[in-house]
Amino acid sequence: MHGRVKLKSTAQQEEEKRKEREKKLKVYVATRDACFNKRKDGAMDDEALQLTQQLLSANPDFATLWNYRREILMYLETVKEEDEVQKQYDAELVFLEACLRVNPKSYGCWYHRGWVCGRQPRPNWVRELALCDECLALDDRNFHCWDYRRMVVKASGVPVEQELQFTDRLIGSNFSNYSSWHYRSTLLPLLHPQSPDPPANCPHPPNSSPPNSPHTHSHRVCEEQLLKEYELVQNAFFTDPNDQSAWFYYRWLLGRAEREEMISCVYMSREGERVVVAFSRPVNAQTVGLMLVLDGQLQRVEWRSAPPSVRHTPVWICELPPGTISDINNEHNLTVHWTEKHTQRECALYSSRPESWCRDSATDQELFRSELSVEKTSVLQSELTSCNQLMELEPENKWCLLTIVLLMRALDPLGYERQTLVHFEKLKEVDSMRTSYYSDLCSKFMIENTILKMEYAEVRVFSISEKNLTTLCHLDQLLLVTHMNLSSNQLSRIPPQFSMLQCLEVLEVKDNLIESLEGLSNLPKLEELCLNNNQISKISQLKPLASCSKLTRLDLRDNPITKMDNLQTELTDLLPSVTDLML
């Protein structure tokens, strides 16, 4: 089905081909029918093996025939001596090898071979490993063979160190070897694991094991080995800057483990008697044993998600029973228990304060940059220098450009902001097919920088204008923000995740391309919204605002909708609380 070139031929050639195929077809059909008939009759004999062999040699994807062979082989196990069985399976392996030479990518062949080794009295794993070596020498990207190799390694206890050396050899002879780099990514954490840090407020080890993905601590590599690995990869992409495998692998090395699962912020508001809890990752609060204890008493509450009606989200909201915390003269102590993870967060609400919170700062958590030791800083700094040198030789190399950006972010996101923006513009130039990707990635980095600046300034104002923002993210970090300015960007929507901004009072998003306000529903503190110069064209696009009961000021000037008849009346109907309307 793949890679069959359409060749033009004369009428005579066509006729000859047709006759030949007709002949082949007849033989094939006869053999196939003979096989099926024998199987129906329960035949487990040599002839059945012969016939299936004939067909499978031409068509190894004919899975049912492998099944039939397995039935026959299993039957023969019951009537032959162990030595004969061993020989029978050896013969099967010879047949399989012939099949694999012709069709090295047949699922059926590889599976059957593994099955045979599993049944054989004395499997020869050394020979199997050698077969893999041979096969990979011909095609080092054959994932069937790599998977088979992993099975052989596991079954015969080949040491991880040995396999690591195997990848060293392959990568040494041919850098462009994604499969080898991938294999390394699975071997290194086994040999040189990063020691996991227990979560900040977790006195006991978590009950359930962390999700088994390469982005958790258990799949990261200890620093000493990491620094050696940087060198190996550098060699690869300096030798051949167009070898994408090395650049992909390098990006993984520069990355970091996902955040531990924990409660990252608790917020309380007397108005609305609301409690908002933000987690470091999306969770399903309904199922994780989330409990509220106020002044020593367990509270009965119903959790709802932000955005509404989703099962997994980082932000959850509930209301305390009326009168619980409404009296501003009273002091309260709240503890949020995440019983499944044996962790909790406390928040004190003092008298004469209308609200309170407790959260981890993004700076403390080093959320947006690498965990940096002195050694690592110095290594990354010199890598950045080298990559900059490479860039002078290869100014159009997008891998190099992107890696420089990633290195700068790892070292000093704020310090390198200006250069980062310049590099993104260059990336969009040299790799224009992925312009959208670079715009979104740049947006993400600018948002991260704004969060850092906001934290340093210790304010609850988030402002990011004229940065060509095309997307919004990290909204779960903006739970406490009261004033937000997103003016003069390229945003086309306020996404559903925006409903996490439970403290938002003022939103300025003029001079964008907004045509969807999905995320602006149920924002309990939103009073002022400026949508000047956007793409709002229909009343239906404003519907989410009806659930923002405190919204009083709305600026809709320079939107297509202002051309609509009866707009004023329709808006008064939809948004009765809005008294200050600008059209």
């Binding site: 099926f36 899975a63 998977d147 699975t186 994408q244 099962r311 312009t435 959208s436």
Partner: protein, 331 residues
């Protein structure tokens, strides 16, 4: 030294308009070639072949041209005692063809033609202790089969028949350093497997476990200068990846990271103006498999000459809605 980028060159005279009528004629005639060598050799996947043909015809609003009665009878005669379906008569049952059978009957809204309880039992019986699914009683494990299992059950409204939590755990254990997924834990990322795993996570409501930014980057890097998509780094582009990669991107909310115009040109260039149908790349032989994925890819790109396709099930969106399914997609 320097690696040449593996890619194809699209000729100036390559097709650049969608030849729907030719494709419909090609598919309609395909089934009648029962004495064709290639056709006979592919009997081992016939059920899937029928699903590919019918789905692309439905997307082109030409389903009525196929022989519904004959196909329904064929499907019935392929259900085995164990409940599973084989690719064709005389062949052995397998999850791959069980899914295809259920998909076809869903297109025709005729699921009651078969023993549903038995199918559910068959699928359930293939789940292993670690949550994975074997393809059949012989035990091959692959995340493709995890997808087949949950997609089959979802179409039948019986997803709760298996241990979803464990199934999810297994699929997540196949996630790699690059955010992608392979066949089994430790297997290299591959667009086909990524489609199966993101589709699986969509059906089971666990898409938040995907690193969408990282995986989205890996996926958009499948686009080559010709505009076509490959299945993993340093491979040639192939029209079927217009489906595996594009549908995955749609599921994780990053489809805008692909240059749509260039991809569209590539897909159109894979058409054969003479015979109708799509080939894997321009100038090669056509087949129903690539025809479906070429058309489905164009549908995902927004072509309004064909029906909207559901990125998780690769079936017309209206069929999925009629069944009452709403698999989650990241925004």
């Amino acid at each position: 030294m320097g690696t040449q980028v593996k890619d194809v060159v699209i000729k100036a005279d390559a097709p650049n308009a969608l030849l729907l009528d030719k494709h419909a004629d090609y598919i309609a005639a395909y089934g009648s070639k029962k004495d064709d060598y290639e056709y006979t050799l592919s009997e081992y996947l016939r059920m899937s072949g029928i699903y590919w043909g019918l789905t692309v015809m439905d997307l082109m609003s030409q389903l009525h041209r196929m022989n519904r009665a004959e196909i329904t009878e064929f499907i019935k005669s392929c259900q085995h005692e164990c409940g599973g379906f084989s690719a064709s008569i005389g062949h052995d049952p397998h999850l791959l063809y069980t899914l295809s059978a259920v998909q076809i009957l869903s297109l025709y809204d005729d699921v009651s033609a078969i023993d549903v309880e038995k199918v559910v039992g068959y699928v359930k019986g293939l789940q292993q202790e670690d949550g994975s699914f074997a393809g059949d009683k012989w035990g091959e494990i692959d995340t493709r089969f995890s997808f087949c299992a949950v997609a089959t059950l979802a179409l039948l409204g019986k997803l709760d028949a298996v241990n979803v939590e464990k199934a999810v755990e297994f699929v997540l254990s196949c996630m790699n350093f690059d955010g992608g997924f392979g066949c089994r834990p430790g297997s290299e990322s591959h667009a086909g497997q990524i489609y199966c795993c993101t589709g699986f996570l969509s059906i089971t409501g666990r898409l938040h476990q995907v690193n969408a930014d990282l995986l989205g980057w890996w996926l958009c890097e499948r686009q080559l200068p010709s505009g076509g998509l490959n299945g993993r780094p340093e491979k040639l582009p192939d029209v079927c990846y217009s489906w595996w990669v594009l549908a995955s991107l749609k599921i994780i909310g990053r489809i805008h990271w692909i240059d749509k115009a260039k991809l569209s040109s590539f897909i159109l260039a894979c058409q054969d103006e003479e015979t109708g149908g799509f080939a894997d790349r321009p100038g090669d032989m056509v087949d129903p498999f690539h025809t479906l994925f070429g058309v489905a890819g164009l549908s995902l790109l927004g072509d309004d000459e064909v029906k909207a396709v559901n990125p998780v099930f690769c079936m017309p969106e209206q069929v999925i809605q009629r069944i009452g399914l709403n698999p989650e997609l990241l925004s």
